[in-house]
């Protein structure tokens, strides 16, 4: 039984940034993301694994999931969510993101993620279970 509940932020217009990002990816990226979420969901301490990184400084309040797709070229992905969790062992995904070199796609991913977080805290939008 998974130790974590994975959830997703939906905007007030009902669109879901993480689901939109997921649907736009190739199937092998989707599968890699699903497997990463599966193993993270089975992991007690996310901060003790490479697959998750707590963001700091300008991006405090967020955490990024990290996974690679072997190439060539190797592709690196960094879906972003709220950290620390609002509810214990519940991770809310905000949006998806790819890291190319030092550049993130979308380039304003973390600013956007912080904006979604603020909106959620202000009571705008909804959170639903993210189904693998």
């Amino acid at each position: 039984m998974a130790l974590w509940r994975i959830r997703a932020y939906h905007l007030e217009n009902r669109s879901c940034p993480i689901e939109d990002w997921y649907e736009a990816q190739d199937e092998d990226v989707q599968a890699e993301f699903d497997a990463t979420l599966t193993t993270l969901g089975a992991t007690v301490d996310w901060t003790d694994t490479w697959q998750f990184k707590v963001l700091t400084r300008n991006h405090t309040g967020l955490g990024e999931i990290r996974f690679k797709l072997q190439g060539p070229p190797v592709r690196r992905f960094r879906p972003v969510g709220i950290w620390p969790p609002v509810v214990e062992r519940e991770f809310i995904l905000l949006l998806g993101c790819e890291k190319r070199g030092h550049v993130y796609v979308p380039h304003d991913a973390f600013t956007l993620a912080l904006d979604y977080k603020r909106r959620l805290e202000a009571g705008t939008g909804e959170v639903y279970d993210y189904l693998l």
Binding site: D28, E32, D34, A35, T38, A42, L131, L132
Partner: protein, 189 residues
């Protein structure tokens, strides 16, 4: 919560997806198990490395979910260092889905090492011999103890079996019997 059918729908969508999902889960779940077991049984990677006759670097790489090139030899030596076994087997995708839904670090951490199982087997032996004196001379004492424990569970019901030994011990005995006889309920006579 994600259900069996949520995952199954994705697997059914394309062969490419299910190939990648199965591969990714394999390369991630084995390091997850090694990491969980190492923390519970050894503490540091250095301790497990010493017990497994490997370097700390190899153990570190074995716990890396992105690595994906673990060899049977390394996994086998880590299993030996933990004093437990590792089996890889081919399964239908339905089993993969169930496995992914039930995956939990806590579950791996509770896998007993050989000495714990061996001790449990002797407890089962002693408890069964005391309460079930009809012993056949055709088998070794240990095998007979297992047979009788299972017979007690099957024929006299859960209540009787619970008096003989804790349920957990019955389950363990079933597992051991399954390995010995190839069945969990009907040992060969």
């Amino acid at each position: 919560m994600t259900t069996f059918y949520d995952i199954w729908r994705k697997l059914a969508k394309s062969k490419k997806y299910r190939e990648q999902f199965a591969l990714s889960l394999l390369k991630r779940s084995v390091p997850l198990q090694i990491s969980a077991l190492r923390k519970r049984r050894c503490g540091s990677q250095a301790v497990l490395a010493e017990r497994a006759n490997l370097t700390q670097g190899v153990v570190s790489r074995a716990e890396d979910q992105e690595y994906g090139n673990l060899t049977f030899n390394t996994v086998g030596r880590i299993a030996a260092g933990l004093d437990m076994a590792f089996i890889g087997k081919f399964v239908p995708f339905s089993e993969l889905v169930t496995y992914s839904l039930e995956l939990s670090e806590d579950e791996f951490a509770n896998i007993p090492v050989f000495e714990e199982e061996n001790s449990l087997l002797h407890q089962v032996d002693a408890a069964t011999v005391q309460t079930l004196p009809e012993v056949s001379a055709r088998r070794s004492n240990q095998q007979l103890a297992l047979d009788e424990a299972l017979a007690a569970k099957d024929e006299q019901g859960e209540k009787m079996a619970a008096q003989v030994m804790p349920y957990a011990a019955v389950s363990q005995a079933e597992n051991l019997a399954e390995n010995l006889y190839g069945t969990s309920h009907s040992p060969a006579s």
